[in-house]
Symmetry: C2
Subunit: 421 residues, 2 copies
Amino acid sequence: MSRPSPTSPLRLGLIGFGCVGQGLYDILQRQPAAGFVVQRIAVKNPTKLRPLPADRFEFHADDLLDDPSLDILVEVIDDPAEAFRLVSEALRRGRRVVTANKAMVARHLPELIALQRRFGGTLLYEAAVCGSIPVIRTIDAYFGQEALPEVSGIFNGSSNYVLTGMTSAGADYATVLAEAQAQGFAETDPTLDMAAFDPRAKAVILAAHAHGRLLDPDQVLNLGIEHITAADIRFAAGRGQKIKVVACLHRLPGGGTTVFVAPQLLGPESPLYHVEREFNGVEVEAEFAGPHFWRGRGAGGHPTGSAVLADLAALRAGFRYAYPKLGALTTTLPADLEVEVYLRNLPQPLQAALALRDVSDAPAAPDRAEDYVIGYARLSLLHRHRDALRAAGAFVARTGPLRPVAEVPAPAHREPAVLAG
Amino acid sequence: MSRPSPTSPLRLGLIGFGCVGQGLYDILQRQPAAGFVVQRIAVKNPTKLRPLPADRFEFHADDLLDDPSLDILVEVIDDPAEAFRLVSEALRRGRRVVTANKAMVARHLPELIALQRRFGGTLLYEAAVCGSIPVIRTIDAYFGQEALPEVSGIFNGSSNYVLTGMTSAGADYATVLAEAQAQGFAETDPTLDMAAFDPRAKAVILAAHAHGRLLDPDQVLNLGIEHITAADIRFAAGRGQKIKVVACLHRLPGGGTTVFVAPQLLGPESPLYHVEREFNGVEVEAEFAGPHFWRGRGAGGHPTGSAVLADLAALRAGFRYAYPKLGALTTTLPADLEVEVYLRNLPQPLQAALALRDVSDAPAAPDRAEDYVIGYARLSLLHRHRDALRAAGAFVARTGPLRPVAEVPAPAHREPAVLAG
């Protein structure tokens, strides 16, 4: 079959027709001059009602991988395992692929990079991180030549929408979550978003581009807001702060990287304080360019479809990620640091297990219904006890800076004095 | 002479060694792994004291254009006319060139694009607009596939530094300007920055990438802050607002574009309200991706040098601007609209010449030292009378929305009634 001439539209094989797939399809219908046409659409469920005529759909995605008339494959399905099977198979055939599946990319990035190097295909995934914000491309291609000591941000629009609702309306978590679900800003199963698995995947992807570090998502701490209450919001407000779920990529002077996601108390001096509802925000500290901040819509069919379209145009222009800071394709552990945290509803055994240091006594407050402590905790211990914290209904939020893990001072022990003679 | 192998560093010919040139040089010295080496440096003045040994410099920039061993030419001199002569000559030889000269690019963009098309060279100029913020590349390459109804922002760090000082310290213009000059945040001749010629050039450049419009800078309205007083700052504060110099690129539904730069009163709901000191901020409204905001350092040797380095890396990767929205290489006029403005110290003849509409009576205020009016003015009339406004010491600031130019209602005239028979 002949290849299209340079001026012909590029032919897309679209795998998946959910929120992102429909967003992309709609944008391309309204932008015929963009130079892309959806040639084939593969979906999973033959009986689901869809907004296009039934003859637009087929049900064997593998058939699209085999079709040489398709210039680019766009994978936008929900299932990470099936997405990896399809994308890795396409890359094994040297194809050009765009995906929006953050969980899949975060878990399989070393293999996905290796497959591109071996078979010459290209994979782009801008839509996987922060929706319409061009964060991956900018960090990879624009800031590829300089160190980025810190990259942090609000990477999940659903939990931010809930936090904005709780803060502005004084409502409780369950009420606001139900409203967010009704309005389409939160999934029916909210765990991935509210327990911060989703922003953790995005942080793992960015760590590869920003710091050249490949991390196993399971090794990265994620703390969420499933157990937040109005009391926590009030506690933050009493300090002039808001609570936001912040992903933090922190490069250590020695070259290591710490990556974790946790609720954090922030004041108005932080640009993230002003990121509300379903928006995402990213702060980048660049060695020479200085501090940067980007804000945009983190979710939604059109914004995410727009990011997929930007990847399609980039593929047409010959762009590929350079991974400019990446060394060997081996995963490393995030470096361990101590972080100042607020912990509420923390059972005594867990408090002991976390070995908190420099604990401030909580000031007595007559209107305070529950107890909390503030102290320094090691990220590695928070990670080890994360499931126990969730099971106990504890809420944990970062309140202050990172610092090196303190050496436990040795017990007092005096050497006999040696008199110089 | 043999070409360098792909792994050899690319050899740069650096023309100019002021703030940006030294910033780039310093970054490259600290980043030997970036893959670029400054091979030759041409400067104008043979007697000036410089921070490198004298044998690093030569004095005939044309010699660099002729040197086939140089992979990329970097033009970072002050003089726009000489910069155009050198860059256009280099493009005529099909060379790869990076420039930071906004005035030159804004004035000669049609020729610069035509030369690249004819001779196959490439010109990048990210450092010309908003220092370290990747605004041109993102608008050209990432948002090239969708309409951008509005692009606006703070494009000049010097005037923003002065406004921040006036607002926070309550000081007058001359005092803060002198302090900014002493700290290196404003030039000795402040006209280009304070009278908004500099942000106008940047707006003209962005109009080509964002809206596909080539404009003659002289046809674009620029109003500055040379005549701002503490009374204006107080007036804004009384409305809960700050004054910022905002460049506005506004795309009309019919396809035209309005571009102008003027002081503007903004409240805390605007992201630009929070952009202080020498920082720049850019707001982009994208048809599908929605609202975006970017903030970063707008000036300085390292931030601007970082933007030049990003262009060098982009050239190495084969990147070139696509100008995705550009049609014919002809300049057009900005579309005319009416804008709500605050005008203080406006002589009566000028008030008549501006033909203000819907003028609000200024409320009586006993502590108000000077008179002002608020009303709608046509951008074209403000442009026609810009020099007279400056000469009269008037201060003009946008206070409200844009609207179509109103038709002057015809004088009352009654047709004789025709009775239907």
